[in-house]
């Protein structure tokens, strides 16, 4: 008996072993090295020299602009995405008929899986001088600039992350017990009151899940600000690429990325504390 159980253990180890090696050498170890580097000094020729200093963290305000842009535009972009996503999720979950629903859902997801590079490229075309500003000039609005402004980055954020927001909201609305709505109507509430007091509160976990996903992914964006912010509106991701590939100040870059990941983990921790701790919504959220 003990020989079969030890054999079964070896089989298990062989099955998860390769994946474990990938995770260890390409995820855990590198992340630890980044943290070590963040306390180091910049070598003469760029790169890393061993040291133990908090100078890189003290120097973070030097990239304050990138942090400011990211920490204002990412939450605002998340809010806008939620506002645009909710009505569609509601339509899909409550109003759309069974037959069309699956197709409509797939159509929501598909753009999210196509090349991000190309989707934001399309918006360079639309928002650039030959696009919307050109059409606006026909109705007398000359010299409107959209590309390379915070507005362009926000439009891109909504466009890029709408699918990711719609899905969790849809799930929370779809599994909502429809008898509650009938009960509310029977008790004399009109449609808008039912929505405010029953539907909306019960779908908030979906909104919270979608918002967390979108916020975290937006914070780490590189292509979006690079294309639609055009060097004027840049995020932490852009500062990181610059620090690692151009100015080659690796220890400072490591401190910036550690700070960014720390902000993300705090967000996730808050989300788990306030949303996932409610057992009834845990299942709804983990889709």
């Amino acid at each position: 008996m003990s020989s079969t159980s030890s054999r079964s253990r070896i089989v298990t180890a062989l099955l998860v072993g390769p994946a474990g090696l990938f995770f260890f050498f390409l995820l855990i170890l590198p992340l630890i090295v980044v943290i070590i580097y963040s306390f180091g000094a910049r070598a003469e020729a760029g790169g890393y020299a061993p040291a133990f200093t908090f100078a890189n963290y003290a120097n973070l305000p030097a990239r304050g602009r990138a942090f400011f842009n990211t920490l204002t535009l990412a939450p605002f972009g998340t809010l806008l995405t939620a506002l645009f996503a909710y009505p569609l999720a509601y339509f899909l979950a409550v109003k759309a008929n069974e037959k069309q629903r699956t197709l409509l859902l797939v159509l929501v997801i598909v753009p999210f899986w196509t090349s991000q590079l190309l989707r934001y490229y399309a918006w360079i075309m639309i928002l650039g001088a030959k696009g919307i500003p050109n059409w606006l000039s026909f109705i007398g609005l000359a010299d409107v600039r959209i590309l390379n402004t915070p507005g362009a980055v926000l439009i891109g954020a909504v466009y890029g992350f709408l699918p990711l927001m719609i899905l969790p909201i849809y799930v929370s609305l779809e599994k909502l017990d429809k008898r509650l709505l009938e009960a509310s109507a029977d008790l004399g509430a009109d449609a808008s009151r039912t929505f405010r007091q029953v539907t909306l509160p019960l779908s908030l976990p979906g909104v919270a899940t979608g918002s967390m996903l979108v916020f975290i992914l937006l914070m780490g964006e590189y292509i979006l600000p690079s294309f639609l912010g055009g060097g004027k509106v840049f995020f932490i991701g852009n500062a990181l690429v610059d620090l690692f590939l151009q100015s080659r100040n690796w220890p400072f870059g490591a401190a910036v990325s550690t700070a960014m990941v720390a902000i993300m983990f705090v967000t996730i921790a808050l989300y788990m504390r306030f949303v996932l701790s409610r057992g009834d919504v845990r299942r709804a959220a983990l889709v």
Binding site: F22, L27, I28, L88, L117, Y121, M125, V241, S257
Partner: protein, 266 residues
């Protein structure tokens, strides 16, 4: 409500359609329609840098897809047999691999590779073996990392929905564990395996940011496209873009179809 839904779908698909429409533009500027032409497709595919980048991307994406699917499937099967803290550790790693932004994955794998190279290369030179350096293999390794996590999630969802009684029946009929795997589990996993293969191929093929850090001197298609987009908007990019879009949409639809066939089977 319907009008709003229609508006959102137009908003989602119009930019994609625009790329395809202007790839057939005869003019030199993407948003300045000068008549219908397919010349940009010809020009794009006659550009040797571009075709080389395409081949590089195809090699990276197919290697990544195969390795990620095999390693990810094995891992999902192994996790089924595990309990306790080690399993929770793997769960945490899978979510970390998916949630940590591409920029950070790129940076940390870059640093890790460079650190290893610096440590190993003097020794390798001493015994006369070629130095380790950034190449396609570093790109593939970094791509496998995040796709592996996606594959584990897909396969695990399928395993969770599987009818255990079939496995028990097979065991009762004295099938060896391997025979049970080959004749019962594997066929049931097939659609999810193919979906994982297609998804990791697409994700790897389209990845820009991780590749940007670890590619060394190599140019993949997204890297080529990124640098030409930064130089300006041209119908040539639209032509390449449309080709990529149409092929990846086909693969994604196929993956969706396979994943849905799975749900129906349940």
């Amino acid at each position: 409500m319907r009008v709003y839904a229609a508006f959102i779908y137009v908003f989602l698909y119009a930019p994609i359609a625009l790329i395809v429409v202007f790839s057939f533009n005869a003019g030199h500027y993407a948003m300045d329609w000068q008549g219908f032409s397919v010349e940009w497709y010809g020009k794009a595919f006659a550009n040797p840098i571009l075709t080389k980048a395409l081949v590089t991307s195809l090699i990276v994406a197919s290697s990544t897809a195969v390795i990620a699917t095999v390693v990810g499937t094995l891992c999902a099967l192994g996790l089924e047999r595990m309990k306790g803290w080690l399993r929770q550790l793997f769960d945490a790693l899978i979510y970390i691999a998916i949630m940590v932004p591409g920029v950070v994955i790129g940076i940390s794998t870059l640093i890790a590779f460079v650190t290893v190279f610096d440590a190993v290369n003097p020794a390798l030179e001493a015994i006369g073996i070629a130095r380790l350096q950034m190449g396609l293999w570093t790109v593939i390794a970094a791509h496998v990392l995040f796709n592996l996590a996606v594959v584990v999630l897909i396969i695990r969802a399928r395993l969770a929905g599987m009818d255990r009684s079939l496995v028990e029946a097979s065991e009762d009929l004295y099938a060896t564990p391997f025979a049970t795997f080959r004749q019962v589990v594997l066929p049931a996993l097939m659609p999810s395996l193919l979906a994982g293969l297609l998804l990791s191929f697409t994700f790897s093929f389209e990845d820009f940011i991780i590749t940007f850090f670890v590619a060394g001197p190599n140019t993949t298609l997204p890297i080529y496209m990124y640098s030409s987009i930064r130089r300006g908007v041209t119908p040539e990019i639209n032509a390449i873009g449309s080709t990529v879009l149409v092929s990846s949409l086909t693969l994604l639809m196929l993956a969706q179809f396979l994943l849905r066939a799975r749900t129906k089977a349940r």
